[in-house]
Subunit: 391 residues, 2 copies
């Protein structure tokens, strides 16, 4: 069973009991293999990574927080290679099962954490999100997931990718567990509920029409729960594809800077697609980077303008449900590019975003995202809980 699910990294499972009597007592959690667990090599999804890096002596901040709160660690989970991947297919450890749609990919790069929670191997699981790695598997596997405000959580002990966009988050199957973990991670109880609801009309227009149609009832339910009249707005007046281009000119450059010393020293094996992405990052011109940095400022200004505290914006998390497993590379790149058009705002602007499960297209889940003001993570969690309670 576990082997079929393929959520955990191969080998003996990391296992650490939580402190007795904490607020998360009775919960089990797994952790993406980018987070340090003391005494366990951090694999990073690439078999040549652990070899080149020392075994950590301390837990990552997020792992320590969950253990201190009483949650029990039950294993480390498969990740897309060095967190570079959005679909969850790993050339090294295989593709974790998407229990909600077994013939489809789980989404990545937090693929194993999503798979473990979806298959009830644990109650919650830590992952990361630089360009969509919490949000996309949340949407594809039908889970609650959060990309917190950039800078809100301590990332100590987490393998970096693109530091100006990196965040750490968690998955859950139900809003109550999602909120319990959130209270501990954020150090803040859920709330307050927002009162204004914006609908990102450009993002809905960009998603597949059946995805937009499947999410509409969720938007209506959300409006009822908040007692708000939805207002349509362009999220990205400059263009979703323009925001995506800016993110694609910033994130891979940082990723290249992060991994270059390791690559130059060790010439590691990588899936061709991952190497190609890093090389693309190394070739981005200074002129393009400079433009992208300015467009990032525009994106930040736009979301700051749209999202004062008390207002949230909703959009399809992904433009389509999970693609089939095992498609060839030329079919995948256009999908990654379309996903980035809906996810780029996270890395660009750093606002908190939560994926709400609840819709399907065909037999596959697809999620609705809500984005709030920077720092208003607990409000988004309150929305998740209120929406589930109202169901």
């Amino acid at each position: 069973m576990t082997d079929r699910i393929k959520a955990f990294v191969p080998g003996p499972r990391a296992h650490i009991p939580g402190k007795p009597g904490g607020p998360l007592s009775g919960l089990t959690f797994a952790v993406k293999d980018l987070f340090d667990v003391a005494g366990v090599p951090t694999g990073g999804g690439n078999h040549d990574w652990a070899r080149a890096n020392p075994v950590p002596e301390r837990h990552a901040w997020a792992v320590q927080v969950l253990l201190d709160a009483g949650a029990e660690l039950v294993g480390k989970t498969i990740t897309d290679e060095v967190s570079l991947g959005i679909l969850g297919e790993s050339a090294f450890d295989g593709t974790p099962l998407n229990s909600a749609a077994p013939d489809r990919v789980p989404g990545g790069s937090s693929s194993g954490s999503a798979a473990a929670v979806a298959a009830r191997q644990c109650d919650t699981a830590l992952g990361t999100d630089t360009g969509g790695s919490m949000r996309v598997p949340g949407s594809f596997c039908g889970l609650y997931s959060i990309r917190p405000t950039h800078g809100r959580l301590d990332l100590t002990g987490l393998m970096p990718q693109a530091p100006s966009s990196d965040t750490a988050g968690w998955f859950a199957r139900d809003a109550r567990t999602f909120a319990r973990v959130g209270t501990v991670m954020l150090g803040e109880a859920p709330g307050p509920l927002p009162t204004k609801l914006l609908v990102a009309v450009d993002a809905f227009g960009f998603a597949d029409q059946d995805v937009a149609a499947a999410l509409r009832p969720m938007v209506e339910r959300l409006a009822r729960v908040l007692g708000a009249t939805p207002r349509e707005e362009l999220m990205a007046p400059q263009g979703l594809s323009v925001w995506a281009r800016a993110q694609r000119s910033l994130q891979p450059v940082e990723a290249w800077q992060t991994f270059k010393p390791w690559i130059e020293r060790h010439n590691p094996r990588m899936a061709f697609s991952v190497a190609a992405g890093l090389i693309a990052g190394s070739q981005i011109t200074a002129g393009e980077r400079n433009w992208a940095a300015l467009m990032r400022e525009e994106a930040r200004a736009r979301l700051r303008y749209l999202l004062p505290p008390g207002t949230i914006l909703c959009l399809p998390t992904t433009p389509f449900p999970a693609p089939l497993r095992g498609l060839p590379m030329p079919a995948l790149q256009p999908m990654r590019d379309r996903i980035t058009c809906l996810c780029a705002q996270g890395g660009l602007a750093g606002h908190p975003q939560v994926n709400l499960p609840g819709a399907t297209v065909g037999d596959a889940p697809v999620g609705l995202s809500i984005i709030g003001a920077r720092g208003n993570d607990a409000s988004l969690i309150a929305v998740a809980q209120a929406l589930e309670d109202a169901a």
Copy 2:
């Protein structure tokens, strides 16, 4: 012992006795893991290659020829990944031992075949040469090696790389064995001896000065054996670096075309440097390729002019002896580039070239190359034998 040598691919050794009573009876041979051996997966130096390709049902032409002549196959040898590498360091199977200089690389991509012969694990071994893969390990390990005239040998059952430059050759420790194998492979006895000797003054000038100095006595010996007065000539009046650039604009484009379908279907793991080379090949412009094709014509014209039958040209096979093992990537690329300046003529013009061992710099071997008229492979082998007999 064998494990330390690391010449053979891991796993059970391919072993096939030769036909009794043939001209190569009593000789053992190994074969680079790019040649098909019936019933044995062709590994190609990349662990994701065999998975994507059927187990061959027939021997490669060269393997069949050696078996039919009575030689005994004793194993398949490690190769640089999909033959893309010149130094012999493999991220998948490790770096074969250079018995002649154990702290140094063996040279590649026919690294395991050279290592096996150098360590007396077999008498001869098949390899390939597209951009230097027979010549460089011959020079670094102190072995006889040949890059035959392009098109002379049947390459059926050999994994291609850049077909307009691909060739198959063999290694030996002594000229007699080298010639015995040559007689079978070429279907022609050694000879006749050339009567004119050219010295590639640009190539000698380009090599490290201690390499040029170490090879000078070999050139003098060669002149005595042939009864010839050496004449200095520019091999590449347009520039060794210009010829290298042309080859670098032709070979990687063909390599990309060769491996693209596999890569796009399977997204295989590759050493970063190999992926980077293929991506560079995919990015070469049509204008650059068109220029390179014209420069190839000029290189062909130049060698045709310099090398009528009966004349040979000598040059250092490599500009330096084998580099140390385990150097970081940024140190390696300039070395690869310098090697290409001396090796590019092989792929560009397709003339036969033999590496003659016999010189050392410090404790490391370095070889003298002789190049002849197209089709005059047997003359070069005769020179090897005459030189050794005269020693």
